[in-house]
Symmetry: D3
């Protein structure tokens, strides 16, 4: 892989979701300038998963909720991450599944060129399965978009 360290903010977002912001920063200290928000959500309702991430990102000023382009950029990053979680179905409760997810949202400048501007990464990690404790396996998804 020919990507350099600057670009790998998706890896950083994934490490945050898999472990926590402190551990991820210990492993990748060069990302300390990136803004990070984390949270948890468990639901059979994909709408609730989406709104949990949006609310966390707005409440923590990771995005400006007044500006639609920021909501739009985040929304599509969330949906792309959710495609990984649901693996091609983009449904949870409708197909009799429930999810228990930790999420991270990371915002920053992953490219060296100033013109590339800011980008956003959303990562979900947790479990998906039957709505019965233990009848589940792990799931993961990463979405990336330009702000």
């Amino acid at each position: 892989m020919n990507q350099n360290q600057q670009q790998a903010f998706g890896k950083y977002a994934t490490l945050v979701a898999l472990t926590d912001a402190g551990t991820a920063l210990g492993l990748m200290p060069e990302y300390k300038s990136f803004k990070v928000v984390t949270g948890k959500v468990g639901s059979m309702d994909l709408k609730k998963v989406i709104s949990s991430v949006e609310t966390a990102a707005k409440r923590n000023q990771l995005i400006n909720g007044e500006v639609y382009r920021e909501t739009h950029a985040l929304y599509h990053a969330i949906i792309e991450a959710a495609e990984g979680v649901t693996r091609g179905k983009l449904s949870v409760g409708e197909v009799m599944r429930t999810v228990g997810l930790t999420f991270s949202v990371v915002r920053g400048r992953p490219y060296a060129e100033a013109d590339e501007g800011e980008w956003i990464a959303v990562c979900f990690y947790g479990t998906i399965g039957a709505p019965i404790k233990g009848k589940e396996h792990e799931t993961l998804g990463l979405g990336i978009n330009h702000m």
Copy 2:
């Protein structure tokens, strides 16, 4: 998240793909009994991505290529991971994209109960984008199946 250490072999597979088998094992030493295969593949052809993982898994005896159920279990885990990489399209070259991926395949017994048997995890991590160097961003996918 209420999953215990034994279950998180998908996290282990992801750490292998994000870093390498040695680093992942350093962070999660309790997974040393799990079989691991890794590899790299760059292509506009999803078929080549799939066959690279299958070939690596068979050549390294992670699965028994003579037994169809093992091929079947691996195939669906690969496809689920590819859904995360392509985020709902399951196409690469057909939609004018190219991927450069590191992959890991992990096999073992993530559940405490003997009846749960063996499971397999496939993780892809790398880049996806225009078929021009630098015109790309990161991508990730995880698939899990029972063997």
Copy 3:
């Protein structure tokens, strides 16, 4: 494009949805023999969008609600138009989106050959976005089917 004027009843349906039946007919007077129904629907519920079009088409005798083949033809045209609106997800509220749409349904004989019989076009035009006023952008979809 090698299509002749007779075929372009999808363009006519689109102009009706973008403007209104009078304006569209002013621009394409040769379509005056085509039956037209229009309406508006705003919802987070795709089911309600579909049933609004069906109800309008039946109430205005654009289709015969007693004959299943007419319902079947219209239904698939609506779904195809909805694929354009939702751009590959075919979900609205489930993925935390709301739509505000104008729709047109046009029925007639777009081909010169009598054997080609009647066809139907459904066009949606409006907005899709977060369930907050102003946090949305335009969306469009066209579906065509033989009656």
Copy 4:
């Protein structure tokens, strides 16, 4: 087609759904060692369709509901069969459709080699259409998975 009699347990599952277990066994008596469960479900709610099959399979000991890998294997076979029923949408009520289905679940050893172990087939047959009696046509789906 080069498949031999032993493999065609999907055909057997389909004949069970199209007719009944007795008729299917009369036509394919060599499948008497395969376990069979059947049932009926009518709904606009795909979740209810899925849970009806799961409940029938567990209640009749076709799968062991205590073992997650059995639930997981059955779930993916159900979803694959539902893809055939919904033909690429994996939605029922959300897109204003209702289904009336007979289902069969068949479990056994379709391959000659002992290593191939047990497999499961799920077949749905019935009607899909507008939520009005008579405004519907037939639909069918088959899913197959290793246990």
Copy 5:
């Protein structure tokens, strides 16, 4: 299920694909007025599968290849049947799979009301799997459309 015998031409098409036209007619003699075409196709190329059915239907005058509405009706029935075969992916070779299929196409009047006119059913039955003999399982798909 409240469908009467007249409607079940999809069941008839399925029995033709699972067995042969003679056996199906023996089981369901009331369908002798329905036109039937059958064929076989093996390929990694979905395009070839589609064109094999179209060619067989035109060559045997099951549809009139000069009339676009007949081609259009058949095409969508084929695609719906292919959704069942590929179970939500609508790809074969691109995702490293091959199919070996028997197909049937049935045309007739399944509804008692004259206004419902002619309908078409397409059924595929066969195997899907790795492009290696024996590494495959059964697959099935049914598509239905009004002519």
Copy 6:
């Protein structure tokens, strides 16, 4: 619909694709500050459709091909428009279809607030169908993204 004139640059892009830039500007003169590029492409290869739009947009300086975020924004707008054209399949030649399309790409500031910045719209209008002249019907798609 509560959208004001400033927002409707998707309607403007659609009118450009349905008619031509001059006619569209005559109908919506307030869009003269928006940059417009148009072109035509006919193919069974979706990759060629995508690259035709990308090449036209770069050659005419509608986007800066050196900046990845501009390529990324345009790419996703193209894919969303292609979802409308293909109505949920995102395939052309693989499913035995060919397209003949006129496309428009429009860039500008559709929102009153300066923070909303630039957005891009891509519209396709033309025909889709069997790879035989006349065996086709109209198709349309619109994609919108923030730059």
